[in-house]
């Protein structure tokens, strides 16, 4: 085969190969947009749920909520604290 013919044949097959590759890749990634959109909406839904749960958690763990609940359960505030003004005797250490 003459050299110019060889180059033409090589070019032809390269083009064919690239066209096929492009078709395959395009076909493979074409639904990714929809998939990505679904993932995005799932992510947003989870983030929103996380936000709602955080809100509930903070409302329940606030000091005012804990204090109210403690009072409801009968806990009372300690009015004085016990402290040691001198070191305890050695026998008690």
């Amino acid at each position: 085969m003459k050299r110019p013919t060889l180059i033409l044949v090589a070019l032809f097959f390269t083009i064919v190969a690239l066209v096929i590759a492009r078709s395959v890749i395009s076909n493979a990634i074409s639904p990714n947009g929809t998939l990505l959109s679904e993932i995005e909406s799932q992510k947003n839904a989870l983030m929103k749920e996380n936000k709602v749960l955080r809100e509930r958690l903070f409302a329940k763990t606030s000091l005012s909520a804990i204090s109210t609940e403690a009072a409801r359960l009968g806990f009372v505030e300690k009015k004085d604290s016990f402290k040691l003004t001198e070191p305890p005797p050695i026998a008690k250490r």
């Binding site: 947009g33 929103k48 936000k51």
Partner: protein, 580 residues
């Protein structure tokens, strides 16, 4: 021959073929030139003049612009609990042109969302494509509306400020309102001071879609990068803030005061541990409260500090070696006449030949006149400046003010004398707290600060380092002053309330309030400022009651509250007793 010659010399009247060609070339050249210029002109028009407009149209064909609204940063206390965060809320809107049975929709929405039916009907009767119906719907409310399956009704998701601890530290936080464009904007306190940092930066993006409107892989093309708001991590200790607010509320009610406030600071770092004001407001419903409550009086209000100012003047005199704790007052046997004014002690009791330690212990005004006069006007003004009086402390909260100190030429002898016991001179509470932190911290004055760390949207934390703003007095003078203040607590007017077994340095204050140039004897500002433990202070605290009615003196009102809070603080910080 001659005829031939003549014929040869005469110019030809008929155009030669070359001339004809040249003329045609010119016409064609002109035609092409005009056409070429027209094309260039048109291209210039489309590509330069109309470029932006065409670009927008093109974008509209393959995508739609999406505004990316950043989420406002959170404000967290030192235990990482958010005292200002965001929650998801919804704006309910309607397209009146899509709603056929408007009465039915109005009835359903008004009964479900507790809205005035006339208001909903009025909105739906407008000739518009979009009308807001209700703001700040919860998730549950949204679901209830969705179950009705109403045509032409939709929701827009938004973030709304949420305060899990309700009105805790309200004046410190400030609130989020709207600016002139209807955008969120922080006002007062931290929300105002750090508004740009908390807000972040709005972004714009193009959501690319295919011919059927489905989003394609390229997804979003960012035009302006959105930046989420940064979080602020405070030095505020939430349990202490909560505890102080409760005690302050009880005390304001007990003493019938117009207002009360407590500020607690770590003298070694300048970090604010607590800043409480009562009455406060609910930042979520700020519009239901008087705007007078929005300001933080701890930094926005000035007052004459009274006797709590005496340690500043005394420490200046000690530092200048004008007096020592043993120096005796030669003119304390009775009222002192200065510049035509007779200056008395607060209880009209006099202690002849009293020492400087006793002057602080008895809160003796005549003794402080002696100290102020010994110090002299020039040094007095120099020390006021060194302690930062008359300047902003630089605390990172919106609304700080600082009253000016009048120039030296405007001071009279009586002004110097009364300044010695804290009258005729104004300060803000945060200024006084900062002054005391210098005495507590070996003479080193720190800049007060509320935010200790800033966390950006990627989680990167930037520490805000403590800042030294000066050293107004020496360590030795600070130590001597501390001992005088410990003596004042142990033997002074407020000794009945003191915390036994702990060395606490402190000073009471009862300042008269000037009204139209005269002091009203029935209206006072009662205060107590101190720090503990005296030898290695963990906190400096200032308690102020504005116009208490059931008892008007600092020793009767602010002092017991100070020691009550201090009692809880020593337990909280596990500070062992050290004896008197």
């Amino acid at each position: 021959m001659s005829r031939k010659k003549t014929a040869l010399n005469l110019p030809s009247l008929r155009p030669s073929p070359n001339d004809k060609m040249r003329w045609r070339f010119k016409v064609i050249f002109f035609f092409f030139a005009v056409a070429f210029l027209a094309v260039i002109g048109r291209l210039f028009y489309w590509q330069v003049v109309k470029a932006a407009e065409l670009s927008e149209i093109a974008k509209g064909q393959y995508g739609r612009e999406v505004t990316l609204t950043p989420e406002r940063g959170e404000i967290l206390t030192s235990d990482s609990f958010p005292i200002a965060t965001n929650k998801v809320s919804y704006l309910l809107y309607a397209n009146p042109k899509e709603i056929k049975n408007k009465k039915n929709v109005s009835d359903k929405l008004s009964s479900l969302l507790e809205l005035e039916i006339s208001s909903v009907s009025a909105s739906l009767s407008q000739d518009k494509y979009w009308v807001p119906i209700k703001h700040n719907l919860t998730e549950e409310e949204k679901q209830k509306v969705e179950k009705l399956v109403l045509p032409g009704v939709g929701f827009e998701q938004k973030f709304e400020r949420f305060y899990p601890e309700a009105s805790l530290a309200a004046q410190l936080l400030g609130f989020v309102g709207k600016d002139e464009n209807g955008q969120d904007k922080g006002y007062f306190g931290l929300e105002g001071y750090y508004d740009r940092l908390l807000s972040g930066k709005e972004g714009r993006a193009i959501q690319v879609h295919d011919a059927l409107g489905r989003p394609v892989l390229t997804r979003l093309e960012n035009e302006n990068q959105m930046v989420e708001g940064s979080d602020l991590i405070l030095s505020i200790d939430r349990p202490i803030q909560y505890l102080v607010e409760r005690k302050l509320k009880d005390a304001v009610e007990l003493y019938g005061a117009k207002r009360g406030m407590v500020g607690i600071m770590d003298p070694k770092t300048g970090q604010i541990i607590t800043l409480s004001v009562y009455p406060a407001f609910d930042p979520k419903k700020y519009f239901e409260y008087s705007p007078d409550l929005y300001k933080n009086p701890f930094l926005s209000n000035t007052y004459e500090p009274g006797s709590t100012f005496k340690p500043l003047v005394m420490s200046a005199a000690l530092n200048e070696k004008e007096v020592t704790p043993q120096t005796r007052c030669p003119r304390c046997a009775g009222p002192v006449n200065v510049g035509g004014f007779s200056l008395h002690t607060w209880n009209d009791k006099y202690y002849p030949n009293t020492t400087m330690t006793e002057v602080i212990q008895h809160s003796d005004n005549t003794g402080m006149v002696f100290v102020a006069q010994s110090l002299g006007l020039e040094k007095m003004l120099a020390y006021l400046d060194r302690f930062g009086i008359g300047r902003l402390t630089g605390i990172d909260l919106q609304g700080e003010v600082s009253p000016d100190i009048k120039p030296e030429s405007s001071w009279y002898a009586a002004d110097l004398a009364t300044a010695g016991f804290g009258q005729g001179i104004s300060v803000t509470p945060v200024e006084l707290l900062t002054v005391f932190s210098a005495i507590a911290n070996k003479g080193i004055m720190m800049k007060p600060q509320v935010v200790s760390q800033v966390r950006d949207n990627e989680g990167k934390i930037v520490n805000i380092e403590p800042e030294i703003v000066g050293k107004p007095i020496s360590e030795a003078s600070a130590k001597v002053m501390t001992e005088m203040l410990v003596n004042a607590v142990n033997k002074g007017e407020a000794s009945y309330a003191r915390l036994k077994d702990y060395r606490i340095a402190g000073k009471t204050g009862t300042a008269s309030i000037p009204i139209q140039g005269k002091y009203d004897p029935t209206k006072t500002i009662a205060s107590f400022v101190g720090f503990a433990p005296a030898d290695d202070p963990k906190f400096v605290m200032l308690v102020i009651f504005d116009q208490p009615t059931n008892a008007i003196y600092g020793a009767e009102t602010a002092a017991p509250v100070f020691f009550n809070i201090a009692s809880d603080l020593v337990s909280y910080y596990k500070i062992p007793p050290s004896g008197d």
